[in-house]
Each structure stands twice: as C-alpha cells, then as structure tokens.
Symmetry: C2
Subunit: 455 residues, 2 copies
Amino acid sequence: MDSLGAYIEQKRDAWLEELCEFLRIPSISTNPDYLPQIKKGADFALEALKRAGIEHTELIEGVGHPLVYGEYTGAEGAPTVLCYGHYDVQPPDPLEQWASPPFEPAVRNGNIYARGAADDKGQVMIQLKAVEALRAVHGRLPVNLKFIFEGEEETGGQAIDAFVPKSKEKLKADAALVCDTALFAPDLPTLCIGLRGLVYTEIEVEGASHDLHSGLYGGVAPNALNALAWILAGLKTPDGKIRISGIYDSVQRPARSERASWRRLPFDADRMRAEEIGSVALTGEKKHPLERMWARPTLDVHGIVGGYTGAGAKTVIPGRATAKVSIRLVPNQKPQEVLAALEQRVQELTPPGVKARVVKIHGAVPLLIDPNNPYIEKAAKVFSRVFGRKTVFVRSGGSIPVVALFVDALQVPAILMGFGLPDDNLHAPNEKFSISNFFRGVETVARFFEAAGQV
Amino acid sequence: MDSLGAYIEQKRDAWLEELCEFLRIPSISTNPDYLPQIKKGADFALEALKRAGIEHTELIEGVGHPLVYGEYTGAEGAPTVLCYGHYDVQPPDPLEQWASPPFEPAVRNGNIYARGAADDKGQVMIQLKAVEALRAVHGRLPVNLKFIFEGEEETGGQAIDAFVPKSKEKLKADAALVCDTALFAPDLPTLCIGLRGLVYTEIEVEGASHDLHSGLYGGVAPNALNALAWILAGLKTPDGKIRISGIYDSVQRPARSERASWRRLPFDADRMRAEEIGSVALTGEKKHPLERMWARPTLDVHGIVGGYTGAGAKTVIPGRATAKVSIRLVPNQKPQEVLAALEQRVQELTPPGVKARVVKIHGAVPLLIDPNNPYIEKAAKVFSRVFGRKTVFVRSGGSIPVVALFVDALQVPAILMGFGLPDDNLHAPNEKFSISNFFRGVETVARFFEAAGQV
C-alpha cells in the first residue's frame, strides 16, 4: 500500500461519520416544504469543500436552489478538471418500506443505508476526500480543479441551467468529471459514455367542474380518471411500444460493435428480474434488455392524482385528474419534438366530455460521448488499476442533464465515473452505497486527478 | 295554516339550530380515524329521539358502528311504520373547494351548507321533528313508529346488515319510510321507486417488489400504474359501454310506459350538463340520459393510489398500484355474478409482468318497488297536498342497500320519500340542503304518519 492508500485507510471512521452527517440532512429538492434543508445541504457541501482545502469557495444564489462552487488554481501549467455532484436527494416515499429511517444512516452488510447514499452524496464526498487525501500526501494538488455541486438534480436543474451558459470563462476546463453513476457489476470498473434524455410531464384531465356522486351522475358525467386511463393506455402498448406518431423516426440504433460489447458484459436478465426488480417477468420490446434500457425510448407513468384515495369507499366521479408521465429519450431524439408529439397524441386520445393538456415539468437531452479522448483514456486506466480489472464502457438509461450542459456549453469531454451498484435502490426505499466502493472511489478519483495533471 | 303548520312555523329557529348542532359532528364513516365522531353522531341521534318523545330508545352495539333504535307502540290498532335514516356522512375531500368549512354549517341563499346536510342528517331531523310536531299538536301519535338510524350507510352498512335479518320480530312493520332521496325538481313532490345496486371494489396491481428508478429500469421493469391504466381502459369504452362479458345479459329495460313518463318530467339534459355537472359534454351510451342514470349499469373509477403524487417530479416506476372501481347495477343484475365477471375480465386484461386481483369492498342489490300499494298511495297524496303539485314517480341511480334489506327481510313496501334537490352536491364539496324543503319535509312526513294511521 502506498502513502495515498495508507492515508485513505487511516481515515475510514472519520470519513464515514462525515458522510453520515451529510446524509442526515433531508435535502429533498422536489418538494418546496424542504427548502430550509436544501440550504442546509448546500452549507454542508460548502464547508466540506473548505475543509478539503479548496481555498476559493462561494455559494451562488439567485435562481432556484444554491449552487456550491469551489476552485483550486495552484497547479500551474496543469489542465483543469471541472468536478460535478449534487447535494439534493429524491423524496423518500413510501416511508413504511424503509428498514431504517431514510435520514438516519445505518450501516449493514458493508453498506451505508440512507436516502442519497449513492445518489449522490456519497459520490460528492468521494471527490472531496480525494482532494483531502492528495493534499495530505503530496502537500499540493496535481491538477487544477473547479467544483460545482447543485441542489436541483432531481428536479430539473434550473439554477445550473441558468449559471453554466453565462459562466463559460469561470467554468473553463479541459474535462468534466461527473460522479453520479454506477459500476456495471460489483468490482467491475465502468465508464458510462451514453445517457438517455427525458421529457417529464403532467397530463391534466378536466371533466366536470367538481366531484360528483357516481350514483346520481354515473352514466352521463365524464369521469376524469376513466378518461386519464384511456389516454395513458393509448400512449404505450403492453409489449412496450410507445404509440406516439414519429417517436421512433430519429432513434439511432447503437453500432453492431457496441451492441456486441454489451453482450460480453456480465449481465443476467433473469437475475436482474428476480433480485433487482422482483417481478414475475421483464416487460418491453423484443430486443436485448440492455438495448431496451440504454438505447430505446421508454414511457412510464409515475403517479396519478384524482378522486378519493383514503381508506374505504367513496363513490365519487372525479372532476379532475392528473398523471405524472415521462418519456426517456435516446441519442438523436429532441425533447421539444417529443413533447410536441406527446401533446398531439394526448389530444387524439382525449375522449368526449373532457379536456386534457400536457404540462412540461422538465427535460434533458440524450447524450453519447466519444470514448477516444485522453481524459477518458486516463480515467479507464486508473480505474482498472484501483479495481484490478479492465474498465468496461457502458451507457446508462438515466438522465444527467448537466452532462449535456457541460458538453454543449463548455465544450469539454465528460467523464462519467461512478461508484454505485445496480442494486442501490436509487429513487426507492432502502437506498444504499457500498462502503468499500466509497473508499476505492476516493482512491480512483485521486489517481485520476494525478493522471489528468499529466495530460 | 292549521295547527300543525303553525307549530312548525314557530319552531323554525330552534330546529335549524338543532340541525346545525348535528351537522357539526364530523361523523365520517369511511375513515377509521373518525370513530369517536361516529359515536358522537349516534349519541346525538339517540338523544334527539328522546327529545322527540320516543319513550323506548336504545343504542345497538357490537358489529360495526352503533345503530340507533327507537320505538313508539302507543297507537293501538294502528299500523306500524319503520323509519330509516343515517347519521354518518361522506368524507369532505377535497377540503379546499368548500366555500365554508364542511363541519361549520353556514346559511346562504335559503340553504344550509355542510357535509351531511342533505345526505342524510337533514332528513333524519325531518323525521324527528315530524314526531315532535304531531305530539305537540295532537298530544299523541296517530301511528306506531319504529326508528333505525345507522352509521355506516356510506361504507357498506355492516351493522344493519347483521341486525335486520335476525330482528324480524323487533322490526316488524307495515311499511318502511326511507328519507334519503331528492325531489326530481324544486317544488316537485317525488317518490322514488327504483334504486341501482352496486359492486364497489379495489383493483390491485403488483409488478416489481419495490419502486424502481425509471432511468435505470425503464424498458424492462413492469410499471404497476401503466398496467392499471390498461386494465381500467379495457373495462369501459369512451362511449360508455362496459366491456365485461355478459354484464348486459340480465339487464331488464324499463317498460315503455315508464320510459314515456320519464320523458314528461321537467328534465333538461343540457341544463344538467351546464349547471350540475359543468362539463363540455355529457358522456355515455346512446340512450336517454335518465335511462342511462336510472336503468343502465355504469362503471366508474373513484381513485388511484400508486407511485409519487407529491409536488414536482419523481422518476419512479411504481411497484404497486390500486384503483377504486365500482359498477352500478340495475334490476335483475346480481352483485355476486357481476363481481365474478369483473374478476375474470381483470385477469383477461392483466398485461405480462404484473399480477392483479379484485378486492370487494361492498355491494348492494338493485331494487324496483311496486307503486300500487296503499302506503305509497297515501304518501303520494300527502306529498301532493303539502307541495301543491302532483307527485311523480322516478328512480334513482344511487344505491340505498338498506331498502333492499327491508324489502327482503321484513317483507314491507318501502317508501322512498326524500326532500333533497338534484344540485345538493352530495359526496362533493359544498353539500347543501334547502331550508324550505326541510320544513315542508317535516309537514309531509307528519301528514304521512297521520295518513298511514288510517290504512
């Protein structure tokens, strides 16, 4: 073990406790009731940057939730890496399904359980501790660093969307490091080079001007929930085909070689079904599951509001109903075009007696990164070294809108180097993060900073 | 004005205040959190029976919510009328749509606004005040009376269902008077001779064992809400046809003469659409709206639970989802048969990757009453006299399960004499009851008691 490894080893308990402190803050960004906790999350990240030895730090406020910014410019002549993470988390519902409370971190079986453990506070902390370790071991940093941590990743990234395009000089860098993804399998170093985009909407249906008694008006009054069911049912078939005109026209199928590399990955669809999903079957199109998850558009209903949902029976005909619906996009699809096509399709599907409209909540463009650049190559190399296996290149079915933002506005290659695991229960009860990956993550990021300093 | 009319007139303020007191009790039967208020509602009704001069009263407890019972046997040689009402109310959601709080009765434009004003506390009070007025004016009652007020009308009537069949001797009567319906139009005396039945269910869908991230698993994981939408969409067409095998086989169309009498009623479908429903169009089958509401089975979705319904976006694939769904039944349809057919249809509609089941919440048989019996004839006559117009015979699209119970178990004709109005917002925000109908109701019921004593 070299001195970097030794330093990391000796810091285990202190760093875990510091991570727990971060995880105890319920910085839920999708619900305005949690604004004070968002501020607390931002303050924690800011202080942690200072503690790591980043001299220039600031809280950027104005639009949306605060951005946490930090800058180190002491590595003269060396390149600059812009590091990204987010301090906000998903809501913890349904609360009753958590084995331990979502904001009281608990260690079990080598994992730390808490909302935000993997997505993304654990990975923000990895970057901070890589800096601390390098400074402790070398007395200086081998590369120039800029940090930007946002508090709206789970809710559209309004603040960072506004900030990045007008701060090109401030954020100028040679590469962007984004720690918000997962290893493809335990111990398998993984770089993600593709992300799906997203169009997230609410479909609102309005029938009667108020709720009605189904005994009195059943048979003549439009029912907003029945209408919503017809609309939703018409958006996708049970075999996974999205029924929106033109939606597949611009879909670019991955190259044969990329698909071949996916088939070599340690992937067992039935294990995923049984252990990660827990359903009687997988669903979707007749294509390889990895292609379905990474390179095909999909449509999901996330929640429905309307009528009576309390205990027991209420015979109400709901006047209004709303569904949260999103479409995941793949390279070459444009969020605006898909949104327009969805709007048109919803109108086609709207039955007599009701009005429907589609409200855009947020969106993200899909992205594909060229793996042939020196920063990706260095990242793959150090990743292989720390984990002792050859780094694989994958895509992700999720959206990290900020990656497209960095690529577009700052013209930098993005390195999606994440340390989560596929079964980390992101956005679900019992989110966790592997403690061993946390420490290997710190070492990998530290060694990437060293290597990036040499480009 | 005779002495009965004069007595009623002088009691206006006192009786309204007493009604308000009853309406202030949030005796919501569908939500177990309100058990203490249910008890309070029962106690109020019991005390009100005593105040009205009914000497023998009792609270019948054991199964479900208490039944309030009262008995007057002093009219020797006269028939016995069994009077029914319910002291429980619907939940008040959505609260924000009430102009005044649901449990703080407010008088506006000749109406009293409160949850339960028309359904059914106002009509329970009518019966009590008819008794009080007759005793005050005549010093005695002209007919023997039994009262049974239940606290579970809105939630399946478990207690009364258990009590009536085993209490045939106790409840022995010559006719049953049920005050829980509405006039067909303001000032138009109306007797209801038909009720729809009901099968109320929850359809539960189970896909993944837990909620999943739609970025990671969108394209392969079953989505319980999408699946529920396909199932619900397949149960009914947008033109109102229920798509459950055999459901129309036993439907008995009303006689031509009854349908002709409906066409003579003061009914304006477009006025109903605009003023009562407030939608852009009426929906449903290509039949007269009154036939659709009174004599056709209908299917409505009342509420959907699953996924994320808070503010903003959460990209979750819900593992479970539930819909509250009911079917209204018409004469000759059997709840058990319809439930079985619904269960089979739900299985047919269940897409791959999920399991679905239908849970019965409660049911009611449909009912048609022969109008040619002396009690109905007397009721029609006094009703015409108090309101100054000829009594019409209608049906109701709603279900009053207890009516079938009385007819079946006690073999009595049921007189559905109600004083609500079609726009009383039952089961919806801003429920109201006409104050003038309250007092005319007291007089009509009192005169019916007088007339029934002569049968």
